[in-house]
């Protein structure tokens, strides 16, 4: 059973490592992840929001809808644990 799991892990790992051939090199400033929209955020976030922390400016202003749903996720996790575990006293 464990030998089968080890074989599956090695096969999955080699497929993933074969897939990293297409990735851009580490630290490349012209990779597709670092152009298009990221440049707009780096250049314009401080003068539009007056917040020097770019991560907070993106998280709290440009993408605040995602942050709202993330807070709803934590809230639902708390409610779920309460619903699963609490028993009425009888």
């Amino acid at each position: 059973m464990k030998a089968l799991a080890l074989l599956a892990t090695v096969v999955t790992g080699s497929i993933l490592l074969y897939g990293t051939q297409d990735f851009p090199a580490w630290g490349d400033p012209t990779s597709p992840a670092s152009t298009h929209l990221s440049e707009y955020y780096i250049e314009n976030a401080v003068e539009e929001t007056h917040a020097p922390n770019l991560v907070t400016a993106v998280l709290g202003d440009y993408r605040s809808y995602d942050t709202m749903f993330e807070m709803i996720v934590i809230y639902c996790a708390g409610m779920a644990v309460m619903g699963v575990l609490r028993r009425s006293k009888e």
Partner: protein, 129 residues
């Protein structure tokens, strides 16, 4: 061989995080105790978060916290600041990982109360009876 070596040196961060991902993956499918499977899932999530954060690094780039008055006067050159978007998305991923761990531990408590054990094959025997 020479080509593979230059590849590994250029992208060794992805290789390290894929190895960490496979450690977590083996724990998820190879272990019998349910808590060990849950910890394997946690290792897997951590490896994915680190993979995304490391993909946004630029050579000779600083952290994405700028000086407000300098940025308002002179403007910012995007080649000197690390990409902030993976950091933002991974904050959400960390929070989701914590929530998943919390709910999974609650379910494991209920399973232990019901069946008295946390080993996967013993639980499958008790369900099968």
């Amino acid at each position: 061989m020479q080509g593979m070596l230059t590849e590994i040196v250029a992208k060794y961060n992805y290789w390290i995080y894929v190895v960490l991902m496979m450690v977590g993956f083996y724990a998820m499918i190879g272990k019998r105790n349910l808590v060990k499977k849950l910890l394997g899932m946690n290792i897997f999530q951590t490896a994915i978060i680190l993979l995304f954060v490391s993909s946004g690094v630029k050579r000779e780039g600083g952290i994405p916290i700028l000086d407000k008055y300098e940025a308002l006067k002179h403007g910012v050159d995007p080649a000197t600041v690390v990409n902030p978007l993976p950091h933002v998305l991974m904050l959400t991923a960390i929070v989701v990982a914590v929530s998943i761990t919390g709910v999974a531990l609650a379910i494991l408590l209920r399973i232990y109360r019901e069946y008295g054990t946390l080993e996967e094959d013993e639980i499958l025997e008790k369900i099968g009876q």
